[in-house]
Symmetry: C2
Subunit: 148 residues, 2 copies
DNA sequence: TTTGAAAACACTTCGAC
DNA sequence: GTCGAAGTGTTTTCAAA
C-alpha cells in the first residue's frame, strides 16, 4: 500500500506541504513526474486526506485551550454526539473513549469567559449528563501526523 | 496584524494548502502576487508555522490512539517534561494542564501491545510518579486549525 | 503601503519511451 | 521509472493608487 518511497515522500510533505514535486523528488531521489504520480495515488487511496496550513493559535486570538470531557446518557449514539459537537467551531477534536467518560473534546476559545460559555452550551446538550474540564497551561509538543 | 483579507487567505489555505496563489486570489479577490506577499509576511510573523499534509493515521499503521495522563513529581519543570516526551515519536501532542494531572499526552501506536510498551516506558521516566490511560474508541471530529 | 501587470524563471503535467 | 515539450504557476520588478 505504501512502500518506503511513499513514506519518504509523505515525510517531506509533512514538513513542507508546498514543496514542489521537483524539491520532493530531489530529497527522495525520484523525478518530479514520479513524485506527482505517487502523490496523486496516495490522495486517491485516501492516505493523503488533504493539505493544510499550520497556524499559531495565539496569533489568531485563540488564547485558551481545554480538554472537555462529556459524560453522556447511556443510549447516545456516536453519530448523535458527532453531529452535535461538530456544530461548535471551538471544538477542534472529539473522540469517544474507554473509561468512565464517554467523549473527550479539545476546545479552543478566545479566553476563559468564552471557554466557559462553550462548556455551558455543551453541558446543555440533551445527551450530556455532566462535563469535566481541564485547562491547558502550556502546549509543550504539537506534531503533525508522523509517518512511520 | 491579520486583517480580514489575511483571515480569508488562511481559511482557503487551511482547506487546501497546495492551492496556487492565483486560485487563492480568485477566492479573496486579490492578484497572485498580492496573495504571495501576504502569505510570505504571515510566515515571517509566525502566524503561519508551516504547511503540512493531513494523513489517515490508520492507513499508515497507527491503529491505536490514547490519552495518557502523567502525574509528575512536584519539582518537575515543563522544560524537563518537554525534552523527555519529545523523544517519543508516538507522542503526537503534550500539554501541561490544571487539575490533579500534570501532563496530558496524545499517543499514537500501532496496536495495543505497542501502546502498552510506550506507556510502560513513559511510566519509567524519572519524573513520572503515575500514569492513567484512556484509549480512543473512535475519532469523531478532527479539524485543522480554525481561522476566526 | 499595498496593489496589479508584465516578464523571466521555475514547476507541472502529459505523452512517449 | 525517465525524458522532453507545452502549458501553468511563481517571483521579481516597476508603476500607480
Amino acid at each position: 500500500m505504501t512502500d518506503p518511497l511513499d513514506a519518504a515522500i509523505l515525510r517531506v510533505l509533512s514538513l513542507d506541504a508546498r514543496a514542489t514535486y521537483a524539491q520532493v523528488g530531489q530529497q527522495v531521489s525520484l523525478s518530479a513526474p514520479a513524485v506527482k504520480r505517487r502523490v496523486d495515488r496516495l490522495r486517491e487511496q485516501g492516505v493523503i486526506r488533504g493539505f493544510t496550513v499550520r497556524l499559531d493559535p495565539a496569533a489568531l486570538g485563540w488564547q485558551t485551550e481545554a480538554f472537555v470531557e462529556l459524560f453522556c446518557h447511556g443510549s447516545t449514539s456516536p453519530a448523535t454526539m458527532r453531529t452535535a459537537v461538530e456544530q461548535y467551531p471551538e471544538v477542534v477534536a472529539a473522540s469517544t473513549v474507554t473509561g468512565d467518560v464517554d467523549l473527550v473534546l479539545q476546545v479552543r476559545a478566545r479566553d476563559m469567559r468564552h471557554l466557559e460559555q462553550v462548556v455551558e452550551r455543551l453541558a446543555a446538550e440533551p445527551f450530556v449528563s455532566r462535563t469535566r474540564s481541564t485547562v491547558v497551561l502550556s502546549a509543550l509538543v504539537r506534531r503533525p501526523d508522523v509517518v512511520p
